[in-house]
């Protein structure tokens, strides 16, 4: 189960993936190879339909690996069992495009419920840790609000707290800023970056949003199922301005 390169969080090689059968078969990923090191913040960009999200779901153990080798957090995903995939997913913090919070719970409950996955954590400890991380994302005053009473940006901040509260070994984020306006999106990404740096958690984030590219250590670009380019990001800047890049959804033309 242990990978050869035990240092890397994710290593993959020769990954091919298709949807459908027979004539309707459509290949999405072609011979993808990637490696993500501990503590690295990696952005995965590319136009719609380029296969970014499919790659993300494979790494998350949400889809069955068809061809190639993929090791995530020490789990080999080739022919992995459902139980094994569930164990892997519990080590990952997820952030979704929409916040995907449970609407019938308060902000605090949404975060604290994650400890139901860690039976060793007592109720008291669970509540304390959930409270602390909500304070860190700036929602200390609104912890007991039902999520329906929070703004979009606040909801996504709760989602970040939920993803990180269990001290995951890897954070996977899918377009976390897509549903937010520029300012809130910026805040959310900065928050994610600083928390991840603090906890030394690697992040793999799929995004179209050119405004947030500056948080990355590394940017991987995808096109038509191929990894086309990998470049160093401008990670040193903690509060890097958005560089005045316009909000364009299609950044295929942007090269690094």
């Amino acid at each position: 189960m242990k990978t050869d390169d035990s240092k890397a969080v994710i290593t993959g090689a020769g990954i091919n993936f298709s949807f459908g059968q027979g004539e309707l078969r459509k290949q999405i990923l072609f011979d993808v190879e990637l490696a993500i090191q501990p503590g690295e913040i990696v952005l995965l960009t590319g136009p719609s339909g380029s296969g970014k999200t499919t790659l993300l779901t494979l790494i998350a153990g949400l889809r069955k690996l068809q061809e190639g080798r993929l090791d995530v957090l020490g789990h080999s995903l080739h022919n992995a069992s459902q139980t094994d995939l569930l164990k892997l997913r519990r080590k990952i913090g997820f952030i979704f495009q929409a916040h995907n919070l449970l609407p019938y719970l308060t902000a605090l409950q949404n975060v604290q419920v994650m400890f139901d996955l860690q039976p060793g954590v007592t109720i008291k400890e669970g509540r304390e840790r959930a409270t602390r991380i909500l304070q860190q994302v700036g929602l200390g005053e609104r912890m007991n609000y039902h999520v329906s009473r929070l703004s979009g940006g606040q909801k996504q901040r709760v989602a970040i707290a939920r993803a990180l509260v269990g001290r995951p070994e890897l954070v996977l984020a899918d377009e976390p800023t897509a549903a937010l306006d520029g300012t809130s999106g910026r805040e959310v990404v900065n928050l994610l970056q600083s928390l991840a740096r603090e906890q030394k958690r690697p992040i793999l984030m799929v995004t179209h949003d050119v405004r947030v590219l500056d948080i990355a250590d590394r940017i991987i670009e995808m096109q038509d199922g191929h990894l086309t380019a990998s470049s160093r990001g401008s990670s040193s800047a903690e509060n890097h301005p958005a560089k005045g890049v316009q909000n364009e959804s299609d950044i295929a033309a942007v090269t690094f």
């Binding site: 569930l86 019938y104 954590v121």
Partner: protein, 384 residues
């Protein structure tokens, strides 16, 4: 659910209208089941009130006797043979026949069950009957069943107002000597007790000494079963010697088999069960369907299928509890009302309550388990 957050309850109460509808569905189902089972039990209980009041351990009826409304007479001389036995402390004979009662207030004719009983000793264990036995020896008097249906007229009211009651029974002028409690049943609307002599006056076609029921009171300490076997041998095949329980059972067998009452009420109970089942299933199913994205998210984050099943099944058990309690209260009120109107012995019996708690939980769990299958279609890969 180790963090103590009651997810199933919080999810249930999040949508108040849906919660209300589900609880109402369970309530209706619970009321229906209480009513059906209660009425069935009451019918059967009311059919054997007379049988249960026998002042003895053994009952003798004709071998072709089927039930109270289908009796066959035998000679009381057979009973005298038992008088000599050292095991027997007393023997009673009872005549029975339906009679024609003319309502003294509106002149309507009604069929009423008439019993001719001995007046020297109480052959029936009915509260307060002893003080009436003396009066019953007078010519053309009768005891009336306080729990008879109101269609016979307001006899009880007249007694309370201390008015004399006179009326025609089988076209014979009779006067009321008192009231006792026997009770109406599905087959009999009311009862009248008279002495042997008055019975024979009312039913001139009946012959003295040709009785319907013999009651044997044994000396205390005698084995009922061995006495029964011994008497059956002595009396021969013309009659059957029964214990009181067998006498009741014979009556119940008739009501169970010859009438569809058992089937109807059992079917009613099953219908009640299915109403609850379908309502809860519908609500949980749409609930699971509406929340599929949430469940898919939870699955993606690492929550197991078992955790989510528990979440949905927890809701079904909560619905069961919330529907059972008010449903039972409504049933109790309806029991009380019906008891008053029909004189049927309808009571909230604890054993039936325990049975219904289990039935309700089973009903909700079943529907929960069926609805939970929908969870499999929550594909965590869809959340991205």
């Amino acid at each position: 659910m180790s963090q103590g957050i009651p997810l199933s309850w919080l999810q249930l109460k999040h949508e108040k209208m849906k919660l209300f509808a589900a609880v109402a569905g369970v309530m209706v189902s619970v009321v229906l089941m209480w009513m059906q089972l209660g009425l069935m039990k009451a019918l059967f209980a009311s059919a054997v009130v007379f049988h249960g009041s026998m002042n003895g351990e053994l009952v003798i009826v004709h071998s072709q006797y089927e039930h109270l409304l289908h009796s066959k007479v035998f000679s009381s001389r057979l009973l005298y043979r038992l008088r000599g036995s050292p095991d027997v402390s007393d023997v009673f004979s009872i005549y029975l026949s339906p009679g024609e009662w003319k309502n003294p207030w509106n002149g309507e004719m009604r069929s009423i069950q008439c019993y001719g009983i001995e007046t020297d000793n109480a052959s029936l264990k009915l509260p307060g009957i002893e003080r009436h036995l003396q009066q019953l020896r007078n010519t053309d008097v009768f005891l009336y069943d306080r729990m008879a249906r109101p269609r016979f007229g307001d006899v009880v009211g007249a007694v309370e107002r201390r008015e004399p009651v006179e009326l025609e029974l089988n076209r014979r002028r009779m006067s009321l000597a008192g009231v006792v409690d026997l009770g109406a049943s599905f087959g009999v609307d009311g009862n009248v007790l008279v002495s042997h002599a008055n019975f024979l006056r009312l039913f001139s076609e009946r012959k003295s000494g040709e009785i319907d029921v013999g009651v044997v009171k044994l000396v205390p300490g005698i084995s009922v079963v061995s006495a029964q076997q011994q008497f059956q041998k002595v009396l021969g095949k013309e009659v059957q010697v029964l214990t009181v329980d067998q006498f009741k059972e014979l009556e119940l067998i008739y009501w169970r088999s010859a009438t569809p009452i058992g089937i109807i009420f059992t079917a009613g109970t099953v219908v009640g069960f299915f109403i609850g089942f379908i309502v809860v299933y519908q609500i949980l199913y749409t609930d699971v369907t509406n929340h599929l994205p949430q469940y898919a998210t939870m699955k993606a984050m690492g929550f197991s299928d078992g955790y989510l099943y528990q979440l949905v099944l927890g809701q079904s058990v909560q619905l069961a509890t919330m529907g059972f309690i008010p449903g039972s209260l409504i049933a109790a009120a309806m029991y009380a009302g019906l008891r008053k109107v029909t004189q049927l012995p309808l009571y909230m019996e604890p054993m039936r309550g325990v049975f219904l708690i289990f039935a309700t939980i089973l009903m909700c769990t079943f529907s929960g388990m069926l609805a939970v299958r929908k969870l499999r279609s929550a594909d965590p890969a869809d959340v991205f």
